[in-house]
C-alpha cells in the first residue's frame, strides 16, 4: 500500500470514530441535565423569552411544537460537520461561536507552541547528553532532574510559580527583567502586534517585531514551562534510554571501526534510531496540551480555549461546548494519524499494512 492510500484509509477510518464521539457528546448535551433556558435567564424567566430562546436553539419549531430528538441530532451533526457552530448564549451572549473560538485560539496555540519548544529544547539535549555520557555526574544530575520534573504536579508547580512571580515571591524580578511585561493574565494586543509591516525594497513585508516578540515570549514562558514540565522529564528519560540502546548496538560499533567521525555517528545513526521511541512522547505532548491547558490557563489567567471550555461547561453553553468538543476530538484524531505517518517515515520497518 502506498503512503497516500494509507493516509486515505486512516482518514476514512477516523470518520466513524468522530461520528460516534459526537453522538455521545450530543447525548450528554441534549439528553443530560443541562437546561439552556435556566442557564441564560436564571430560575425565574419570562416564558416568551424562553420560548424565543428555544426557537433560536432549534429545540422548538416556529409554531411552538417541540422538535423531535432525531431531528435535533441530525441538525447538530450537520451544523458541526459544515463548521456552522451557531451562537453562544451564556459565555458571550449572541456572539457567534466561531468568532469566540477564533479570538481565544491564539493564546492557546502560542502557549502550546512554546511548551512543546521548551520541552524539546531542554529535554532532548539533556537526555542525549546523559545517554552519551552514562554514569557520570552530569548524567546523574540530568536523570534526577528528569525524574523530579516528571513527578511535579502541574497545577501545583503553576500555583507556586505564579505566586513566586506575581505575589512578591523570590522571582518577582522576572516581571521587570529586560522589559516590563505582564506575566499573569492576557496582555491586550501582545500577540496581535507580533507582526509589523516593514518596507523592504519598496514592498510592504510582514516581519516579526523583535520587541513585541520578546515580550510575548517572556509573558508565556512561565506557563509554557509548567505545561511542558512533565513531557520535558519524559523526553529526557526516554531520550537517554534510546541513546544508550543504540550506542551499544553493532552497527554503531561497525561505523566506529570504519572510522566514521563521532559527530556523524551521533547525527546519522544514534539520533534517528533514538527518535523512534521518542516520537510517541513528543506527540503525546499535544494531547497534554488539549487537556492540561485548562488548569494552566486558569492559574496564569490566560484567556484561551481551556478557559473558554471551563466557562462554557460551568455556564451550560451547549453550542460552545459542542463546537469545542468537535475541535478537540478532530484534533486528537488528526494527531493520531500524523503520528502513525511519522512512524512510517522514521522507522521504515513499520509497514503500512499493520493497522
Amino acid at each position: 500500500m502506498s503512503r497516500w492510500s494509507y493516509v486515505l484509509k486512516r482518514l476514512v477510518l477516523a470518520v466513524p470514530v468522530l461520528v460516534f464521539a459526537l453522538t455521545v457528546t450530543f447525548m450528554i448535551l441534549y439528553l443530560g441535565p443541562l437546561d439552556p433556558v435556566t442557564a441564560v435567564f436564571g430560575q425565574e424567566y419570562n416564558p416568551s423569552d424562553a420560548l424565543q430562546l428555544r426557537k433560536d436553539l432549534g429545540l422548538v419549531r416556529a409554531d411552538g411544537s417541540p422538535v423531535p430528538l432525531w431531528e435535533q441530532y441530525i441538525d447538530f451533526m450537520v451544523r458541526l460537520f459544515t463548521f456552522n457552530f451557531g451562537q453562544s448564549w451564556v459565555v458571550a451572549s449572541e456572539v457567534s461561536v466561531s468568532t469566540l473560538i477564533w479570538n481565544k485560539v491564539l493564546p492557546t496555540v502560542w502557549l502550546g507552541f512554546w511548551s512543546v519548544i521548551v520541552a524539546l529544547v531542554v529535554g532532548l539535549p539533556l537526555g542525549f547528553y546523559a545517554g552519551l555520557n552514562p554514569n557520570t555526574g552530569g548524567d546523574y544530575l540530568a536523570s534526577f532532574g528528569g525524574i523530579v520534573w516528571r513527578a511535579m504536579p502541574n497545577f501545583w508547580l503553576a500555583v507556586i510559580l505564579a505566586g513566586a512571580i506575581s505575589q512578591g515571591g523570590f522571582l518577582e524580578g522576572y516581571r521587570t527583567w529586560i522589559i516590563e511585561t505582564q506575566v499573569i493574565g492576557t496582555p491586550r494586543g501582545t500577540l496581535e502586534t507580533l507582526l509589523m509591516d516593514v518596507e523592504l525594497l519598496g514592498i510592504a513585508m510582514p516581519m516579526v517585531d523583535p520587541t513585541n516578540f520578546f515580550a510575548a515570549v517572556k509573558w508565556i514562558l512561565p506557563a509554557a514551562l509548567v505545561l511542558g514540565s512533565s513531557s520535558m522529564g519524559n523526553e529526557m528519560r526516554i531520550g537517554r534510554t534510546a541513546v544508550l540502546e543504540t550506542i551499544n548496538s553493532n552497527y554503531v560499533e561497525t561505523a566506529r571501526a570504519k572510522g566514521v567521525s563521532s559527530w556523524k555517528i551521533v547525527s546519522k545513526h544514534v539520533f534517528r534510531n533514538a527518535m523512534v521511541p521518542l516520537l510517541p512522547v513528543i506527540m503525546g505532548e499535544f494531547y497534554l496540551l488539549i487537556g492540561g491547558s485548562v488548569l494552566v490557563e486558569l492559574i496564569f489567567n490566560i484567556n484561551g480555549l481551556g478557559r473558554l471550555f471551563i466557562s462554557a461547561a460551568f455556564g451550560a453553553d451547549v453550542t460552545v461546548l459542542g463546537a469545542l468538543l468537535f475541535i478537540f476530538v478532530t484534533m486528537t484524531l488528526v494527531f493520531n494519524i500524523i503520528q502513525d505517518i511519522l512512524y512510517t517515515m522514521i522507522d521504515p520497518r513499520v509497514g503500512y499494512e499493520s493497522e
Binding site: 460516534f20 513527578a151 497545577f155 537517554r240
Partner: protein
C-alpha cells in the same frame, strides 16, 4: 490389542474431562482463594444490606466508632479483600517466589524507598482517620505557621505558640501549621492519604479488571469482537473524560465515588491495548496450542495461560497510570470540582493559593506530599518495568 484392528479408531489425544478438571480446581489451592474472596464479599454484602435496610440514613453504621460507611468505603473494602486474597495470600503461600521477588526488588534502592514511603502512606491513611479527629474549621486559629517557623503577627488572629518581636511562632500543636480557616494541616495530610490510597487502589483495580478482560477477549476471540472492542477503545481514548465527569457531577453532585467510578470506567483503554498486543504474542506460543488441542475451553486458556503471562505488564502499566489519576483528582479538587466533604490534597493547595505570599506552607506542604507520592509510584513503575522488560533497562 483388539483396538488395533478397529478401523474406526482414530489417533487422538488423551481425553480430558474439562468439567472434572474445573471441579477439581474448585477445591484445590487456586480456588481456595476464590472461595475465601467470595466469603469475604458475601460478608461485605450482608454488612451493606444491613446498612441499606436497617440503619437509617445519615446514622452511623457502626455506632461505637461513629463510622458511617460511605460508597467509597464499600468499594475500598472490596478492593482490600481482592488485594488480600490475590496479592498477599499468594505471596505468603509461596515464600520461595516471595524471597526471589524481594531480592530482585532490593537491588533498586530508589524503588525500596518508594515502596516504604507508599506503605507508610497506605498504613497512615488506613489507621490515621481512626486515631485523629477530623480537621475542623476554627477561624481564630487560622494561619498558624508550622513548627520552627514564624509568620508576621498581622495574619493569625490568635497565636497558639509563642509571639515575640511581632512574629508568631509555630508549635507542636499544629506541626505543619493551619490553613486560613484554621484547619490543622497535619490532619488534612493524613486524611488526604486515605483519599489518595482509595483513588489509587480502587481505580487501579477497576482498570485492571476491565482492561484485562477486554484486551484478553479481543486478542483471544479475535474477529468481530476484536474489531468492535478496539474501535470502542479508540473512541474512549479520544473522548475527553473531563466532560463526562462534569455532567455526571451536575446530575448526581460532587463526590469521590463519582470520580473513582468515572475515571475507573473510562481509563482502561491503554491497558486493554497493551494486554491485547501482549496476549496476541502469547496466543502464538506452543503451550496455548497444546492446551487448545487438548480441548481446553477458551475461558480456561485465558484464565490459566494468558492472564498470568500478561499480569506483569498490566501491573507495571497500572503503577504508572495511578499517579496521573492522583494528579487528575488533585487538579479537579483544585478547580473546586472534587468532593467538598473530603479533604484531598488538591483542595488544600487550592485553599492556600491566594495566601502564598505570606502563608507559604498551606499550598506547599500538601504539594510536597503529592509530589513524593507520585514520585514513588513512578519509581516503582520504572523498577518493575526494568525488572520485567530487559529491553528497557536503563543500566548498561
Amino acid at each position: 490389542m483388539a483396538t488395533d484392528t478397529d478401523p474406526d479408531r482414530i489417533e487422538r489425544f488423551e481425553d480430558i474431562d474439562w468439567q472434572a478438571t474445573e471441579m477439581r480446581g474448585g477445591l484445590s489451592a487456586v480456588s481456595r482463594k476464590a472461595f475465601g474472596l467470595l466469603l469475604t464479599l458475601a460478608a461485605v454484602c450482608v454488612f451493606f444490606l444491613y446498612d441499606y435496610y436497617l440503619v437509617r440514613k445519615r446514622k452511623p453504621t457502626v455506632p461505637v466508632i461513629e463510622w458511617d460507611v460511605s460508597q467509597v468505603d464499600w468499594m475500598f473494602m472490596v478492593t482490600l479483600a481482592v488485594i488480600f486474597f490475590y496479592v498477599l495470600l499468594p505471596l505468603y503461600e509461596n515464600p520461595r517466589m516471595t524471597r526471589y521477588y524481594w531480592r530482585e526488588f532490593r537491588k533498586n534502592r530508589a524503588a525500596v524507598f518508594s515502596g516504604g514511603f507508599l506503605l507508610f502512606v497506605f498504613g497512615t491513611g488506613l489507621v490515621g482517620p481512626l486515631l485523629l479527629p477530623k480537621p475542623e474549621i476554627a477561624l481564630e486559629l487560622g494561619y498558624q505557621p508550622p513548627v520552627f517557623t514564624s509568620v508576621s503577627n498581622n495574619y493569625p488572629i490568635q497565636c497558639v505558640g509563642e509571639a515575640a518581636n511581632g512574629r508568631c511562632f509555630g508549635t507542636f500543636q499544629h506541626p505543619l501549621g493551619t490553613t486560613g480557616r484554621g484547619k490543622d494541616i497535619f490532619r488534612l495530610i493524613v486524611y488526604g492519604m486515605t483519599v489518595s490510597m482509595q483513588i489509587g487502589l480502587i481505580t487501579g483495580l477497576i482498570i485492571i479488571t476491565i482492561g484485562t478482560i477486554v484486551g484478553a477477549v479481543a486478542a483471544y476471540v479475535g474477529g468481530l469482537a476484536d474489531e468492535v472492542l478496539m474501535r470502542y477503545v479508540d473512541i474512549q481514548l479520544t473522548f475527553p473524560t473531563f466532560l463526562l465527569y462534569l455532567l455526571l457531577i451536575y446530575l448526581f453532585g460532587q463526590s469521590l465515588f463519582m470520580f473513582i467510578l468515572v475515571f475507573g470506567v473510562t481509563s482502561w483503554g491503554l491497558i486493554a491495548r497493551l494486554v491485547r498486543s501482549e496476549a496476541l504474542q502469547r496466543t502464538e506460543e506452543e503451550y496455548i496450542t497444546a492446551a487448545q488441542s487438548a480441548g481446553a475451553p477458551n475461558l480456561y486458556v485465558i484464565w490459566r495461560h494468558i492472564l498470568p503471562n500478561v499480569s506483569s505488564t498490566v501491573i507495571t502499566a497500572v503503577t504508572l497510570l495511578i499517579p496521573s489519576l492522583l494528579l487528575y483528582e488533585a487538579g479537579l479538587a483544585f478547580l473546586q470540582l472534587g468532593d467538598p466533604s473530603i479533604p484531598s490534597w488538591g483542595q488544600v493547595i487550592s485553599a492556600g493559593r491566594s495566601d502564598l505570599s505570606f502563608a507559604w506552607w498551606i499550598s506547599t506542604v500538601p504539594g510536597v506530599f503529592l509530589f513524593f507520592t507520585i514520585l514513588a509510584f513512578n519509581f516503582i513503575g520504572d523498577a518493575l518495568r526494568d525488572a520485567l522488560d530487559p529491553r528497557q533497562t536503563t543500566q548498561e
